[in-house]
């Protein structure tokens, strides 16, 4: 059993304060390569990644992404390419590709953590504004940014007041009773 993997899962936390230290191209590629191994519904692979390192583009993105607290040196935008979904005659209401986004996101964040980098997901942004800023192809919908960088040491306390939960609070075994 690989205790490393489990530890990596347990110790990853969303990081919202990052330094301006650059992230090596090789590290970004390691993260993208990990995402390639994430599961994908029907093996369709509708997910596409857009990597943004240019400082001015990142600054503009933050202006339409109120949920992006980090000033991360690398942003990886996870997009769904709906052209692929249409090729397979699936309706736009099909949620499989959104589940793919989640799998890809977690895979990239765990990969980043495994190589000593900090990460944070962001969905609180204007999709329409991001399409314009990145000049995305018409069939791409921007779904989630993964911010990648180095964790800043801040004196500030972490999120307070959240109830501690364990897996038991989240799990039900077997059939539900009637009441």
């Amino acid at each position: 059993m690989s205790e490393h993997v489990l530890n990596n899962i347990r110790t990853r936390r969303v990081v919202r304060e990052m330094t301006d230290e650059a992230v090596e191209r090789e590290a970004v590629e390691t993260i993208l390569e990990a995402a390639r191994w994430a599961p994908t519904g029907g093996n369709l692979r509708p997910i596409r990644y857009v990597v943004v390192e240019d400082p001015e583009t990142r600054r503009l993105i933050r202006l339409v992404a109120p949920g992006m607290f980090q000033k991360a040196p690398v942003l990886i935008l996870i997009c769904i390419n709906w052209a692929i979904i249409e090729q397979h005659k699936l309706p736009h209401t099909d949620r499989t590709s959104l589940i793919d986004v989640g799998g890809a996101a977690q895979t990239m964040m765990l990969a980043a953590h495994a190589i000593g980098l900090a990460s944070g997901p962001v969905t609180s942004f204007s999709k329409e504004a991001i399409k314009v800023i990145l000049n995305l192809p018409g069939s791409y919908s921007p779904e989630m940014f993964i911010c990648i960088g180095h964790k800043a040491e801040v004196a500030r306390a972490g999120m307070r007041g959240w109830k501690k939960i364990t897996w038991r609070d989240l799990t039900h075994w077997e059939r539900f009773d009637n009441e």
Partner: protein, 107 residues
């Protein structure tokens, strides 16, 4: 009354972008995220204004920039969050009075 400008046109447009995007994403998010988005915009506006602001606002702007990220951390602790916002309201009211001149006119 001669007053100094504290925002460039570009900075003002940047703030518009943030406010408009905040309005849109709020449609898909829990209601209690509303204050968070307004505070994020407050924080960015304060940061933009700080450099060119006068002594009437400087201390308040610095205080608000410093205080806001800490307040986000306490978001789930509603009473602490409210206290933080009340503090900010008192401070901004003081800043308002300094700008209107009403403070020096009062006995």
């Amino acid at each position: 009354m001669s007053e100094n400008w504290v925002l460039t046109e570009t900075e003002a447009v940047e703030l518009l972008a943030l406010l408009i995007s905040s309005a849109r994403i709020q449609m898909d998010e829990p209601a209690h995220y509303g204050p968070l988005r307004l505070l994020t915009a407050t924080e960015r506006l304060s940061a933009m204004m700080l450099e060119r602001s006068s002594d009437k606002s400087k201390a308040f702007l610095q205080d608000s920039i410093e205080r806001i990220p800490e307040m986000h951390m306490a978001m789930s602790d509603v009473e602490t969050y409210k206290d933080g916002l009340d503090h900010l309201c008192r401070e901004v009211a003081g800043c308002l009075l300094r700008h209107s001149g009403a403070e020096s006119a009062s006995p």
